[in-house]
């Protein structure tokens, strides 16, 4: 544990975050990589001390490093590796389909956010029930049409 390494961890998180907030999958992957490194460093630092490699018979009088964070970090590294490979496959597939690795906005969400705020109710396709209810109201307040056609 040292101040410099703690700062490095923080910086890795910061830089990674910066990249995560972009729209290129490659950058996001790199950002995740940086954050992953940061997290591993954090794990390592959580051991709290610097020491010699924890090998039975070689430690002698010296302080051994904490083996626990090492094992945890190792697991985290390997998992991150697998997942990164998968993300790259996504980028690859995205390239196959669109020729780019842009993370597109969700279409349905955009549609709802864009059309609904401007359009009136009548223009929105799915409000069939509501307009039917309005028609029913029409007929109840003076319209002539009977509600149910006879059997």
């Amino acid at each position: 544990m040292s101040l410099v390494l703690a700062l490095c961890t923080a910086l890795l998180f910061s830089l990674g975050t910066w990249l995560l907030l972009q729209r290129r999958l490659t950058r996001i992957i790199i950002g995740l990589g940086l954050i992953g490194h940061g997290a591993n460093l954090l794990l390592l630092l959580s051991g709290g001390r610097r020491g010699v490699a924890p090998f039975i018979g070689q430690i002698g009088e010296r302080t051994p490093a904490d083996p626990m964070p090492q094992a945890l970090a190792l697991t985290a590294i390997v998992i991150a590796f697998g997942v990164t490979a998968f993300l790259l496959a996504l980028a690859y597939r995205s390239w196959q389909l669109t020729g780019d690795d842009l993370v597109e906005d969700d279409l349905e969400d955009r549609r709802i956010a864009a059309t609904r705020s401007t359009a009136s109710d009548e223009e929105v396709a799915d409000q069939r029930e509501l307009s039917a209810a309005e028609a029913a109201l029409e007929s109840s307040t003076g319209g002539a049409a009977p509600l149910e056609e006879a059997e």
Binding site: F13, L20, L25, I28, L32, I35, G36, G38, A39, N40, L42, L43, L45, S46, G47, G48, M68, P69, L72, T75, A76, I79, G82, V83, F86, L87, L90, R93, S94, L97, T98, V103, E104, D106, L107, E108, D109, I112, R116, A125, D126, R128, E129
Partner: protein, 497 residues
Amino acid sequence: MMRVLLPLPVVLPLFAAGCSMAAARRRWLQRLIGIAALSACVAAAVAILLHADREGPAAAFMGGWDAPVGISLVADRLTGLMLVVAAPVLLAVLVFATGQPGTEKEQPAFHPVYLVLAAGINLSFLTGDLFNLFVAFEMMLTASYVLITIGGRRDQVRTGMTYVVINLIASTLLVATIGLLYAATGTVNMADLAGRIGHLPGGVRVAFALLLFVVFGIKAAVFPLFFWLPDSYPSAPTAVTAVFAGLLTKVGVYCLIRTQTLMVAPGDRPIGFMLAIAALTMVVGVLGAIAQNDIKRILSFHIVSQIGYMVLGIALFSVAGLAAAMLYLVNQIVLKSTLLLTAGIVDHAAGSSRLAEVGGLARRHPIVGWLFLLPALSLAGIPPLSGFVAKLSVIDAGFADHAWIAVGVAIAVSILTLYSMTKIWGGAFWGEVEVVAEPSDAMSRRYGATAPMLASTAALVVLSLALAVFAGPLLELCQRAAADLLSPTAYISAVLP
């Protein structure tokens, strides 16, 4: 006994996954392996629950390393309950998938990945070690990444990116949290942590509690951390969405329950914060559902909304509240899976799940109508279905603890839930018959889906009805489990004798 039993729900599917991978070219063998393994999980889960309920929490120590040195699997009532509910859902969805044209038949990866998903879910419930929980999450999530993009359509890739990236961020946060916890306490065993966190200064304890809440909150999809869910779930193949909807977020909720009760001292619990989050989750989720026009999307937003009820139950930190949350959890697992399977059947029978494109299904395929209607009403909390009991228990617990506003919101939201369920019913099941494309096989044209699809969905519907019939014993079980959670000495002493 538990030594053998506890690891089985994890290791069996993993072993089966290995075999399934090796048998990548023989689909029938893969099916056999998958169904056999998951059936065995059902049996093991039931045995675990019975044992946990009768004898109290039990632990198994991996590699014979006693806690907190090694990894321990712990089963208390909550764990047993979750396993018992998850196992049949997993099995049913797998059966559904085998009856569905598409993914399962075309992708040799489906079965092994699905089995890993099952193992990951089960491990999340079982593990008594925080880092192992991370590993379980990763198993589950990696499998889910694969499943959500399997098929590689353009929209899947797009939404897959959102899903994967957000979950990776959550995972990284979890690792960081574990690192920080280890730095502060020197252990990652949850039972051990329970004791050690108490020695930390106050601000740090609260910070850890909130950090854990946020970390698992992302997985559980609470406000404002849920955005990824409705964007990504609907694009996965139906069976996959069903199991995601039923189980993945619920694993997050399980973890919320577990960590907030076990590792957070009563004085440090962010009760007000959680209540606010719960209310916002319910409202924003259900409003999202109302705004949607696709069955799967509506249901996806409902996942979010319903999570709010569970958080509400948890936030009360009373026996009644936690029991209500658990009951809700159990219900939602079954209901959400069922509803999404039904959405899949709609999609299969009519060629689309968009409300504007389909209609009149109840008349065309009455069976499908029932398969939707019952769980949908249950979801909306209509008595005497199981969802009602769950909702009643939440309201009851909330009023008992004077959480007036949150419960008021919960009640108001449930009418909105009903509204959006009728939106599906009115849009897809009522009206003139409209279809985009007809399925190709005769069975599907007549009944709406193939036999495995119908049978598995019907089995889940029956399960949900059974949950209603046996709601009494179930709630009592939940209350016992909740009492365990609130005084976790038995849990801790099972792990650290």
